[in-house]
């Protein structure tokens, strides 16, 4: 019996923004993570009949260990039902309907100790955002999406005109200035990797950092970690002396726009903590760490990390390359 809390992710966005494609891709590339995906329309998922191991009403078990669930019975009752299978699930992912409020859904994980609040990702259809943003029927929902997303994915940029895509990016950036905005197709391996984790650990990042040539032969997307490092910029840093906690918290908020992922083990003056970040979502949890080790972090970004690195240097961090061998 697995008693660790189940990770909880919410994917929001209007109809046509690509949520279903993302969920499909995720189910195909779930790796060893046993996902339970809750979707509005079962039929829209193109699940190979051969992969269905068991179907019980609105709950479908797949051969790869994942579970699909229809939200047609309502989120409350579906979640009550699903949590009876908690021991079979590592990660719950909710495909929020375009008119639901993502933060109200994330509240499930905030209230239930058996769930761990995770990423709220909102997909924005770059080709139709202008229409949606001027539709009074959707005004409250779109505002709620802008407020509650930890990061945004701008989809359909290949269909939208360049002007329209730029307009959409600006529109989101103005309303959510501290959230990362990634451009991508919803079935990109890199997007899937952002959700599946496992969060990159400092060592593997350092390795990638030092041997970029390694990547050329490894474009297989099955390894989410690798996909992350292939598509985004990553940077690892360490600090051998205790870090100022307020200063670090300030850094995490200030650079949230650039941090698709951040993870690390940190020694502050008063405590040690594990840091995890995904855009505006910041977790700093108490942890018991070996006092002899240095603080170690790794950051992944879609753009540029040089300013973030500079801010960390001011807090006593150094680039991994400069860490003297022990």
């Amino acid at each position: 019996m697995n008693d660790a809390p189940v990770d909880f992710t919410v994917i929001g966005g209007f109809l046509g923004s690509g949520k279903t494609s993302l969920v499909n891709r995720l189910l195909a590339a779930s790796g060893s993570t046993r996902f339970a995906v809750l979707v509005n329309d079962f039929g829209a998922l193109n699940i190979d009949e051969a992969l269905i191991r068991h179907q019980d009403g609105r709950i479908m078990q797949l051969a790869n260990g994942c579970i699909c669930c229809s939200l047609a019975g309502g989120l409350v009752d579906t979640m009550v039902e699903l949590m009876r299978y908690r021991h079979l699930i590592d990660h719950i992912l909710i495909e929020a309907s375009g008119v639901s409020y993502p933060s109200r859904i994330m509240d499930f994980a905030r209230i239930d100790p058996d769930l761990r609040p995770g990423l709220t990702l909102v997909l924005v259809d770059a080709a139709h955002l202008q229409d949606h943003s001027t539709d009074t029927r959707l005004a409250e929902t779109i505002t709620a999406q802008m407020e509650s997303a930890d990061m945004f994915v701008l989809t359909k940029t290949d269909i939208a005109s360049a002007d329209m895509a730029a307009w959409s990016r600006d529109w989101v950036a103005t309303r959510a200035p501290d959230a990362p905005i990634i451009e991508g197709r919803p079935d990109d391996a890199s997007l899937v990797a952002l959700i599946t984790g496992p969060a990159p650990d400092a060592t593997s990042a350092a390795t990638h950092h030092h041997h970029p040539a390694d990547h050329t032969g490894h474009h297989a997307h099955a390894d989410p970690d690798r996909a992350l490092h292939t598509h985004f910029v990553s940077r690892a840093m360490t600090a051998s002396r205790p870090v100022d906690e307020d200063g670090f918290a300030d850094f995490a908020n200030r650079f949230s726009k650039h941090l698709l992922r951040g993870k690390g083990t940190l020694h502050f003056h008063r405590r040690s903590a594990i840091w995890q970040q995904a855009g505006r979502l910041v977790h700093l949890e108490d942890a018991t760490l070996d006092a002899d080790t240095a603080s170690q972090i790794v950051m992944i970004s879609a753009d540029d990390l040089s300013e973030a690195a500079a801010a960390l240097r001011a807090l006593g961090f150094q680039d991994v390359a400069n860490v003297p061998a022990r």
């Binding site: 375009g98 008119v99 029927r137």
Partner: protein, 547 residues
């Protein structure tokens, strides 16, 4: 030759324009042969004359166009609402008109449970009438500290729970989640709202109201119908899983079943294709007492719960606009596909923005696939203005207005949700009539009690609980109200060729009343006693009221 029965009555109000009144009605094979005078009956001789109802009034069996069969099963749980209510067996559940009375009712219900841990559920709680006073966990703890208690509010949006439940759910002063209400000292009060908090409560106890309908509920639903003169009723938000579909068949084929049931498929419970296939397959189950073909769409939420979608200027007290049940575009697609499939849509729209969205969708569906006489019906449609009624008339859309709301929540609508202007035009039966829209009026039981004469009283008088008259211009006459609960409702269900009036060929379905709704003063319509019904020619006496 089959038997012919003739019923005599003080008056038979037929709703048949070519013969509005009669003293006798002849019935054969469960159907009406004709209505007229005693002499007129000679053509059907030999017949058996029944004078049991000679001092009573017969009207067409009432048609409840919007109620839920859950009205039959919900009485397994104690009722703690404000006003007296009678369950299908006729037992009176006394209204709890103070918090103390609610606790006393719960304590009595608690005493009926055997072991100490079974959850206790109660329903119908409506603290809106208690001023500032709110129920808290400590009060519920006086009922039990060993079993979880969940009290559902009548608006469907809030729950009250006791400390035992909060312990099980881990809800403490440290729980900082929207919807977990707290007192001035930061302690959770036990009042829970919104999905996450409800989820946490039901995770501990299970949701007893979840799942499809069962035969016993449908049997009791028919008893409830007999008690108020109803002979045809919808179950307007139905799960079409195998068990439920089998239950409809089983109940409708139970000898002596006194109701014609009209379940409406919940269209969002499956994909559009699957839903259409299910609704069509269900047609094979149809029999005299089971009439599939209705499909239900939920557009927005409720006005008193602030989840209805309103047009400008929105909620009177400035609350943010409500919630769509699905993306507006998806709702439009759903309407189009079910319309194309030839099914009959009943569409929940409370706010005026919701009714507008659905009128747009229905107009688009009619342009894409013209269908004469579709009779799609907007349900509740409480805030529609005259322009929307004009569109309904043009599009052939019917409306079923929630007249009971005027009495139960009219005061709150005038003061809080809509303000006086829009409250005056809510459930605008007068406008519907002036604009030529086919309309009916309903109870939405178990939200409010199923009792068409009370519903008719609401539409005729438009009086709130405090006695204020909301929008006298929207009042309708007793004749028109009687039409709305018989032939008007039958029309919205596409059943007006079978029920809704007393004329040859139709089912012999009558409501048996002690007084005539057309003779008593308009404010006394709700006080008329119902003897029971005659369904398919067989008399069914209402349960004797007890308690």
């Amino acid at each position: 030759m089959t038997e012919t029965n003739v019923f005599s009555a003080r008056d038979i109000i037929t709703m048949n324009a070519s013969r509005p009144h009669a003293t006798h009605v002849a019935v054969r094979d469960g159907r009406i042969l004709g209505a007229g005078s005693l002499e007129d009956m000679e053509q059907w001789a030999p017949y058996t004359l029944t004078d049991d109802f000679a001092d009573k009034i017969l009207v067409p069996g009432f048609v409840e166009g919007h109620a839920h069969a859950m009205e039959g099963g919900i009485w397994d749980f104690p009722y703690v609402g404000y006003e007296d209510r009678w369950d299908p067996s006729g037992r009176r559940w006394e209204g709890a008109q103070s918090l103390e009375a609610v606790i006393a009712a719960l304590t009595a219900a608690e005493a009926r449970l055997d072991d100490a841990e079974t959850p206790l559920f109660a329903w119908g709680f409506d603290p809106i009438y208690f001023g500032e006073a709110r129920m808290n966990a400590a009060q519920l703890d006086s009922v039990s500290t060993t079993r979880p208690i969940i009290v559902l509010h009548s608006n469907g949006h809030l729950l009250n729970v006791n400390s035992r439940l909060m312990d099980m759910a881990g809800i403490t002063a440290d729980t900082n989640v929207y919807g977990v209400l707290k007192d001035d000292n930061g302690k959770p009060t036990g009042e829970l709202m919104e999905m996450a908090a409800k989820y946490m409560a039901y995770r501990q106890t299970g949701n007893p109201f979840f799942g499809g309908i069962k035969t016993p509920s449908l049997l009791r639903y028919a008893e409830s119908a007999v008690n108020c003169g109803v002979t045809t009723a919808t179950d307007l938000f139905a799960s079409f899983n195998e068990e439920s579909l089998a239950a409809y068949v089983e109940a409708s084929q139970t000898p002596g079943y006194a109701l014609r049931l009209m379940p409406a498929l919940n269209t969002i419970e499956q994909s559009i294709d699957e839903g259409i296939a299910l609704a069509k397959r269900a047609l094979q189950d149809n029999n005299d007492r089971l009439h599939h073909r209705l499909c239900k769409v939920m557009t927005d939420g409720s006005i008193q719960g602030f989840t209805a979608r309103l047009k400008w200027p929105g909620y009177h007290n400035g609350k943010p606009n409500g919630l769509w049940n699905l993306d507006p575009d998806t709702l439009g697609e759903l309407v189009l596909e079910y319309h194309k499939a030839g099914l009959h849509l009943h569409i929940h729209t409370n706010g005026d923005e919701a009714s507008e969205l659905m009128l747009d969708a229905l107009e688009a569906a009619q342009l894409a696939c013209p269908r004469p006489d579709h009779r799609h019906t907007l349900q509740h449609c409480q805030m529609a203005d005259a322009s929307q009624f004009r569109r309904m008339a043009k599009l052939g859309v019917c409306v079923n207005l929630f007249a009971n709301h005027i009495y139960y929540w009219g005061d709150q609508h005038a003061a809080i949700t809509m303000g006086p202007d829009r409250a005056n035009r809510m459930d605008a039966a007068g406008t519907a009539q002036r604009e030529g829209v086919h309309f009916s009026i309903h109870s939405d039981a178990p939200v409010t009690p199923m009792a068409p004469l009370f519903t008719a009283w609401c539409a005729v008088n438009r009086q709130t609980r405090t006695g204020t008259v909301l929008g006298p211009e929207e009042q309708i006459s007793a004749e028109d109200a009687l039409y709305a609960i018989t032939l008007g409702a039958a029309y919205t269900l596409h059943m007006d060729h079978l029920v809704g009036s007393i004329e040859p060929g139709k089912y012999a379905d009558f409501a048996v009343l002690e007084d005539s709704p057309l003779q008593v003063s308009p404010d006394a319509i709700r006080d008329i006693s119902v003897w029971g019904t005659i369904s398919g020619g067989a008399p069914h006496k209402a349960a004797t009221r007890t308690g």
